[in-house]
């Protein structure tokens, strides 16, 4: 296995908690990056009296330096493990997801953050549950769990129950799915996770919506329901297909934006830099 790529990320709001880490915290303390100076009355900490400012002040107030306390956060990857994720087009979706989770755990532990994985299909899978931990030893375990996993259940209903496992303080939650479910169901999932910083990762494939064959017969099998349908592919239908896929994508983004962030499209190949840019931009 190659060394996992590092992903840079930043929570949208200041972290809370007590574990010292890399992210800007909500509380100010005695260590960290200089924040501001306040009067001694506001922060009676004689160890950090700013002598220069105190002497300069004509009103003879006493000033204390404040520092921004950097804190660690917890990251969770909530992974859709339903059958539709076993799609193989330009790439294998599960491989992309495994790569992403490995990189996330690696990056989180580099920064001293905790990382956990919650795998869901029709329920939350107890055998695919890695509670957030700062322990690096869990990284090979996660990679190994992904390597021999084959999605088999026909529903992703468990995604709505995953919120129970990420309860508590605000966390950075990567919601990794192909989002091939009705929009109301996606909205329920987002609602259940609303107190967290949700990063939707839309796992897609160009074979699904843009790199379609322009002519021929396709016997499409629904990976989840197993139902089949013969499609007589032709340029006109291909245009319609692409248009519908784009419209759905737009509707999804509209929905995701209401809950914080637009989706990052994990398409065909995992690009850690692109994900970093996406996470830092917003």
């Amino acid at each position: 296995m190659t060394e996992a790529a590092t992903i840079s990320y930043r929570p949208r709001e200041r972290a809370e908690g007590i574990v010292i880490g890399a992210h800007r915290g909500r509380s100010s303390g005695g260590q960290g990056v200089f924040l501001d100076q306040v009067t001694y009355l506001r922060q009676p900490d004689p160890r950090r009296i700013d002598l220069r400012l105190t002497l300069r002040d004509p009103f003879e107030n006493i000033y204390v330096r404040r520092f921004e306390q950097r804190l660690a956060i917890a990251l969770y990857a909530i992974v859709d493990l339903s059958r539709s994720m076993s799609f193989e087009g330009t790439a294998r979706k599960m491989e992309l997801v495994a790569e992403l989770c490995t990189s996330l755990s690696h990056s989180a532990h580099e920064l001293g953050d905790a990382f956990g994985v919650i795998g869901c299909d029709s329920t939350v899978r107890e055998d695919f549950l890695f509670p957030a931990t700062r322990n690096r030893g869990v990284e090979p375990a996660i990679a190994q769990r992904f390597s021999n996993f084959i999605p088999e259940r026909r529903s992703a209903a468990g995604l709505t129950q995953a919120a129970i496992y990420v309860a508590g303080k605000r966390k950075l939650v990567f919601l990794i799915s192909d989002f091939r479910m009705p929009l109301p169901q996606i909205e329920r999932i987002l609602e259940s996770l609303a107190r967290h910083d949700i990063v939707p990762i839309l796992v897609s494939d160009s074979a699904e919506d843009t790199e379609l064959p322009s002519f021929g017969l396709i016997d499409v099998r629904d990976l989840e329901s197993g139902a089949g349908k013969v499609v007589f592919m032709r340029p006109a239908l291909r245009r319609r297909w692409e248009a519908e896929a784009a419209a759905r994508r737009q509707a999804l983004d509209f929905l995701f934006l209401r809950y914080g962030r637009p989706a990052f499209e994990l398409k065909d190949k995992f690009d850690a830099d692109a994900l970093s840019r996406h996470l830092l931009e917003i």
Partner: protein, 344 residues
């Protein structure tokens, strides 16, 4: 329409017919969700056509294996024309030439002339139906009234056999009328007597027979035409009364008395002289003029094997399936390169 199969055991395989509607023969392309596939009428149509073609291929193939055939049957056909019974004289005298000589070199016997003229007649009247009766001392049933040209021509050709002593026109005519009586469709019947007259005169003019013939002719409304195989310009006119003093009886002048008798039948009656170059045209024209009512007739259609039709149907359906198979495609798959790269 009645159809039967020769090998009904294969019909159990018909249970396979709905199979294409249950399983697909196309290569399956897994896709995350059918919700992402646009609804398309043309696709549904093509899908149905493929399934139907597959079902048809199985259905027709099984039927072809069972070797279906259509039962022999009578078909009612409608045509305009007459029912003509050819009443052919097969007496010994017919084997002589028109001049009553032995046939020498490439001379034509009366039989040859008659068959030639009859062939001509059959060829010129495409919608008429023909029956054939031959007679010498006794009548011979040759061919019932039929529209089959080939059968009629074969029957006429078969008349070209050496003749037999004796000329019994009366019995032959009775058989011809019986043939007409047996055909309920013979609404405009014609008896075409082909004869060179009665040499020697067998018992034609029995009174009972005359009465019976007269009754039957009137009952059947049959018309009588006589293709008379004698030179027109003979030494004496066979139909005119004999010179004074000579005996005027059926024994001395049988043709004259036949003619007289025919005239008393009360039906249309004409004599055509066979040596006249227009004899046949005249006869055809006459018959056409008189007999143009629509006639219905039944035709026997033999049992027919329809297996090739079902094989053709199965082949056609299979061709559609092959085309579908050629048009088959799928979504892009991970290439070997990607697979290898991700494995490392």
């Amino acid at each position: 329409m009645n159809y039967m199969v020769a090998q009904p055991g294969f019909l159990w395989l018909l249970l396979l017919t709905p199979l294409p509607f249950l399983v697909s023969a196309l290569r399956q392309a897994p896709f995350p969700s059918l919700d992402g596939v646009p609804r398309d009428t043309a696709s549904s149509l093509v899908s149905f056509i493929i399934k139907a073609a597959a079902a048809l291929a199985i259905f027709a193939g099984v039927f072809a294996l069972a070797r279906p055939y259509r039962l022999a049957e009578n078909v009612k056909l409608l045509a305009t024309g007459a029912h003509v019974v050819i009443l052919m004289d097969r007496s010994l005298s017919m084997d002589f030439t028109l001049g009553d000589d032995e046939v020498q070199g490439n001379q034509e016997s009366k039989t040859d002339t008659a068959t030639r003229l009859l062939m001509d007649f059959v060829n010129r009247s495409p919608h008429d139906q023909f029956g054939v009766v031959a007679f010498s001392s006794a009548p011979v049933f040759v061919l019932p009234i039929s529209g089959h040209r080939d059968a009629v021509k074969a029957a006429i050709t078969a008349l070209r056999r050496p003749g037999i002593e004796g000329t019994n026109v009366g019995l032959g005519m009775q058989l011809a009328l019986a043939m007409i009586g047996h055909d309920p469709e013979a609404t405009s019947p014609v008896v075409l007597l082909v004869s060179d007259g009665e040499y020697g005169g067998a018992g034609f003019f029995q009174l009972e027979l005359q009465d019976a013939l007269r009754k039957t002719f009137q009952k059947e409304h049959a018309h009588l035409y006589w293709l008379f195989l004698r030179p027109h310009k003979g030494n004496e006119d066979v139909f005119s009364p004999p010179p004074k003093g000579a005996e005027d009886s059926p024994h001395t002048k049988p043709e004259r008395h036949m003619d007289l008798f025919f005239k008393t039948l009360g039906v249309t009656y004409r004599v055509f002289w066979a040596d006249s170059p227009h004899a046949i045209q005249d006869a055809v024209a006459e018959i056409d003029r008189l007999e143009t009512r629509p006639v219905t007739y039944y035709e026997e259609i033999p049992r027919q094997d329809v297996t090739p039709f079902f094989y053709g149907l199965a082949a056609f359906a299979s061709l559609l399936l092959v085309l579908a198979k050629f048009a088959e495609t799928g979504f892009r798959r991970p290439s070997a390169f990607v697979r290898e790269a991700s494995a490392t």
